[in-house]
């Protein structure tokens, strides 16, 4: 009990969390937002224009994106939250309307829209309730009549409805109930996509993955498969991105067919595929792979054309021009931080890309001056060769965690890569394994012989144990 009270004492975070907790519909997405803890603040203005950005999307993701931008960006907060309020009001989800209004009230308390429209809310609640009742009632009717197709559609309607009002777990259940009443592969595919989309919104990435696999194993017509492939790959890529397996995510996005177009705008756009795929690839592949699998990839080129800066960053990286590559990424950092899927991974991805750049930069040299490295990776920092400079500290960290196989020479102010002494290494490993073998064999022989001699440690003899003057013997260790 004490423990709980302490939590409540922490009012600031409690408020943040309280906003989201909302109604009983404890959907997973909200929970993951809780886990991220304090919201990320983005003070730099993003490069995109909000109106045209959000116009690319359809469905519930529009609100989620607007809300995230509104709560994170200082520049766009009012604009985005106002749009979010409008978006919510055009739908039937009262909870998210309340959330948006509350968030707007925090940043612009005097705005007219910051006051909740209670009449609309009451009306909507009633209408939602009525609709739920109607659909449930209809479904029961279908079930009594045992008409498969009707039951399937009834469940679909109900799922659709739950999803519209934000009760995602009920929606997911309703969609999954469709399964038994699907008669054609097309039905199953459409059902699985519905489940996937809800799971994406809930942030249930495991479920996304397993349903994508189900979808892939589905026996359906060639053209059907071809039609579904891009969406499947994109959904899989998203789930892999979120579970932190960036290389897998990169592969999934790279394998997404260009026919995706704007067909999956309720989840992501082709632009997003380019950005997610490009960043994941940058963070997880070496220069050769990037060249071969990203830049020379004809199908992915279509995506990259939408986001030329990603293309440029990757080609800079491939040409070992790490500074411009990192500069591009830094310039677009605000955009990425305001992306609903990318936000939590930007930091990790950027660090990996940076570390990889440093590694790749060092690769051809046996020795690099700290000054030139600082120019490349940490321009504008003062006293670049001092041990206390952040860049040198970063290098020290990288060396100590084993990322860089090099050492710093503070006399000549250079980074020296470690030489490999093959002969020495072989010798060391031989001696090591010899020693280990001898030790382990000895221990095992002794164990065998102890057991054979019946000298195992046992409790009954313990009673007569005498210390045998051990105390005085132990003193000898000083």
């Amino acid at each position: 009990m004490d423990y709980m009270q302490q939590d409540a004492f922490d009012t600031v975070s409690a408020q943040n969390a309280g906003q989201v907790a909302g109604t009983g519909s404890a959907d997973l997405e909200n929970m993951t937002m809780n886990v991220t803890g304090p919201l990320i603040r983005v003070d730099d203005p993003p490069k995109f224009e909000l109106e045209s950005y959000i116009a690319n999307y359809t469905g519930r993701t529009r609100f989620n994106r607007l809300y995230l931008i509104g709560t994170c960006s200082t520049h766009l907060s009012v604009e985005a939250l106002k749009a979010a309020v409008a978006e919510a009001k055009s739908g039937r989800d009262v909870t998210r309307y309340e959330r948006a209004v509350r968030a707007l009230a925090d940043v612009a308390p005097n705005d007219a829209e910051a006051n909740p429209d209670t009449t609309w809310m009451d009306h909507m609640k009633k209408s939602v309730k009525a609709e739920t009742d109607r659909l449930e009632h209809e479904l029961r009717g279908y079930k009594n009549n045992l008409i498969k197709e009707s039951i399937r559609m009834g469940n679909e309607d109900l799922g659709q409805h739950y999803s519209q009002i934000g009760d995602l777990s009920s929606a997911s259940k309703a969609f999954q109930r469709m399964r038994d009443y699907c008669t054609t592969p097309t039905h199953i595919a459409s059902m699985l996509f519905k489940v996937i989309n809800v799971s994406i919104e809930r942030g249930d990435w495991l479920n996304v993955q397993s349903n994508v696999i189900r979808l892939r194993n589905l026996q359906s017509k060639q053209e059907e498969q071809a039609k579904n492939q891009p969406k499947m790959s994109a959904a899989l890529g998203l789930s892999q991105l979120h579970s932190g397996s960036y290389l897998d995510a990169a592969n999934s996005f790279l394998g997404t067919d260009a026919s995706l177009g704007d067909s999956y705008n309720e989840v992501l756009t082709s632009n997003d595929v380019a950005v997610y795929g490009g960043l994941c690839a940058l963070a997880s592949m070496d220069r050769n792979e990037l060249q071969r699998r990203v830049l020379d990839n004809n199908s992915f080129r279509n995506f990259l054309e939408l986001e030329p800066q990603i293309r440029r960053a990757i080609s800079f990286f491939c040409n070992s021009k790490f500074r411009p590559c990192l500069e591009i990424l830094e310039a677009y950092q605000a955009d990425y931080l305001l992306d609903v899927h990318l936000q939590r991974h930007v930091q990790t991805l950027f660090t990996r890309i940076r570390t990889k750049s440093i590694q790749q930069y060092l690769l051809p040299f046996s020795c690099v001056t700290l000054e030139s490295m600082t120019k490349m990776f940490s321009p504008g920092s003062e006293s670049p060769t001092d041990t206390s400079s952040p860049f040198v500290q970063e290098l020290i960290g990288l060396i100590q965690d084993g990322t860089l196989d090099a050492r710093i020479d503070l006399e000549k102010k250079v980074l020296v890569s470690n030489q490999v002494h093959l002969r020495k290494e072989v010798q060391d490993s031989v001696l090591d394994s010899l020693e280990n073998y001898a030790r382990e064999a000895h221990i095992r022989i002794l164990r065998t012989n102890i057991i054979q001699a019946g000298l195992e440690v046992r409790a009954d003899e313990r009673k007569q144990r005498d210390e045998r003057g051990k105390g005085s013997a132990f003193d000898a260790m000083r």
Binding site: R423, V426, Q427, V430, A476
Partner: protein, 216 residues
């Protein structure tokens, strides 16, 4: 092999007749049990004991067994160790050597009152210590200030710091080079026998080749 009984005279003979410090150490360690039987109550025996333990202690130092020397002082009779001036000197020396406090080592060796019987051992240890330190410096330093070198070797650091030519000459005599401009000495590493090394290298290479075959 029966050893002649331990006596002051026998001790002196052992010290003078031992061809190497290692043998001196071995002969003396044979006597440790006999020394154990002596009593410090008897003043003659106490003198013999003090003499024996001090000699034994130096035989440790001369064979570079510093840790063993430290452990052996723990085996000496506590009362004797506390009040005997020779053994107290030994303890001071041990502390200085243990802590690598070079100034103190030379000070103890040169300035403390050592008994006449111990003096030859003290002197040979000073020479030994100097030589050992010299080897260590030439391995450890690429360049060293004369004052620091003088401290290590028990020479006068102040005169060395002023570039006293006598001190510098002493050091260049070891094959070191003197960089007048920088005011630094460059020690010369003690060379090893190259021919033997080549043979050794080939021998090992054969073994390595065998290992290589086995591994692949």
């Amino acid at each position: 092999m029966e050893l002649p009984p331990l006596s002051l005279q026998q001790l002196a003979t052992v010290v003078t007749s031992a061809p190497t410090p290692t043998e001196l150490y071995h002969t003396l360690s044979e006597y440790e049990a006999e020394a154990c039987l002596l009593s410090i109550q008897d003043s003659n025996q106490a003198e013999l004991l003090s003499q024996y333990y001090a000699t034994f202690f130096f035989s440790h130092l001369l064979t570079d067994q510093i840790r063993e020397a430290r452990i052996s002082t723990q085996r000496m009779p506590e009362n004797l160790l506390q009040k005997d001036p020779s053994l107290q000197n030994c303890l001071n020396l041990l502390r200085a050597v243990w802590q690598r406090n070079y100034e103190q080592v030379y000070r103890v060796l040169r300035e403390l009152p050592w008994s006449d019987q111990l003096k030859p051992l003290v002197q040979s240890y000073e020479a030994h210590f100097q030589e050992k330190t010299l080897k260590e410096i030439s391995r450890a330093y690429e360049a060293i200030r004369p004052a620091a070198a003088a401290t290590y070797l028990g020479l006068d650091p102040t005169s060395a710091a002023q570039g006293d030519s006598a001190t510098v000459q002493k050091l260049t005599a070891y094959g070191w080079t003197w960089d007048e401009e920088a005011g630094l000495l460059h020690p010369k590493p003690v060379a090893e026998d190259p021919q033997k090394e080549a043979r050794l290298y080939n021998e090992l290479s054969e073994v390595m080749a065998l290992i290589g075959n086995r591994r692949s």
